[in-house]
């Protein structure tokens, strides 16, 4: 089981994607799925760094990534601002160029790319994101 703590900075997204790719490859996922998993992990970590930790430079992000049977499970734990996904507006993918909003696209992609995306907030331990993808 891969378990790593990363500085919550965008420069570490590369390493986060590599970690996920390695576990997914060992778990027998296709190259298409590996790309999807990397993208979902990147969007999730980017959101945490940008929003939960907005402006905090010495924060950390704890990530686990492991296979359970035919499922790959990624968790990300942070101690930043709580996140309520129900407050994020669904992006309108049919809107004209001028009306198109980019906000909420990360979460939308995560949900499309993964089979399950779950956010929990605990006053003591912080925020926990769990994402699951089943091997096709």
């Amino acid at each position: 089981m891969a378990h790593s703590t990363f500085p919550a900075r965008f420069e570490f997204l590369d390493e986060i994607r590599s970690l996920v790719a390695q576990v997914a490859r060992e778990g027998g996922f296709s190259e298409k799925d590996i790309y999807s998993l990397q993208l979902a992990a990147d969007e999730a970590a980017s959101n945490i760094i940008e929003h939960a930790y907005a402006g905090i430079s010495d924060a950390t992000l704890e990530i686990t990534c492991n296979m359970q049977g035919s499922e790959l499970i990624i968790t990300m734990r942070d101690t930043g601002k709580p996140f309520d996904p129900s407050k994020v507006k669904q992006p309108n993918l049919k809107a004209d160029l001028s009306e198109r909003q980019i906000g909420g696209l990360g979460l939308y992609l995560m949900r499309k790319l993964m089979d399950e995306v779950r956010y929990e907030t605990n006053a003591r331990t912080g925020n926990l994101l769990t994402m699951i993808k089943r091997r096709g």
């Binding site: 965008f10 790309y35 993208l39 969007e43 980017s46 940008e50 198109r100 696209l105 992609l109």
Partner: protein, 111 residues
């Protein structure tokens, strides 16, 4: 990520290589903004050697497309979009916002 910009008579060709994510997207945005600031609104983005792009890169493309298309002064088009990146753009509903070409000469010639 590495960016090279080549100026043609009717458009600029911006080639972006490697990976565009939240760490590198600001530099990608800057390269596109620079073209706009120089009065260039017809832009071809060559993705033939692009390995990865997250929504941070999509955001840069969208902002530039808006700026290029304003007053009908131009357009940003994409060339040689790798399959995985195309799939992600499609998932985000972005494919209809950008014309795509299979090769750079054809894209440059379209302006």
């Amino acid at each position: 990520m590495e960016i090279t910009t080549q100026e043609f008579k009717h458009c600029d060709l911006v080639k972006v290589k490697g990976r565009v994510d939240s760490a590198t997207a600001p530099d990608f945005s800057k390269a596109l903004e620079k073209a706009n600031n120089d009065g260039k609104f017809k832009i071809v983005v060559d993705m033939s050697e692009l390995e990865y792009m997250s929504s941070a890169g999509f955001r840069a493309l969208l902002a530039t497309q808006r700026n290029c298309k304003r007053y009908n002064r131009g357009e940003l088009v994409l060339v040689s979009v790798p399959q995985r990146i195309h799939e992600a753009l499609e998932l985000a509903g972005f494919t209809e916002l950008f014309k795509t070409f299979d090769d750079a000469i054809e894209a440059v010639g379209s302006f």
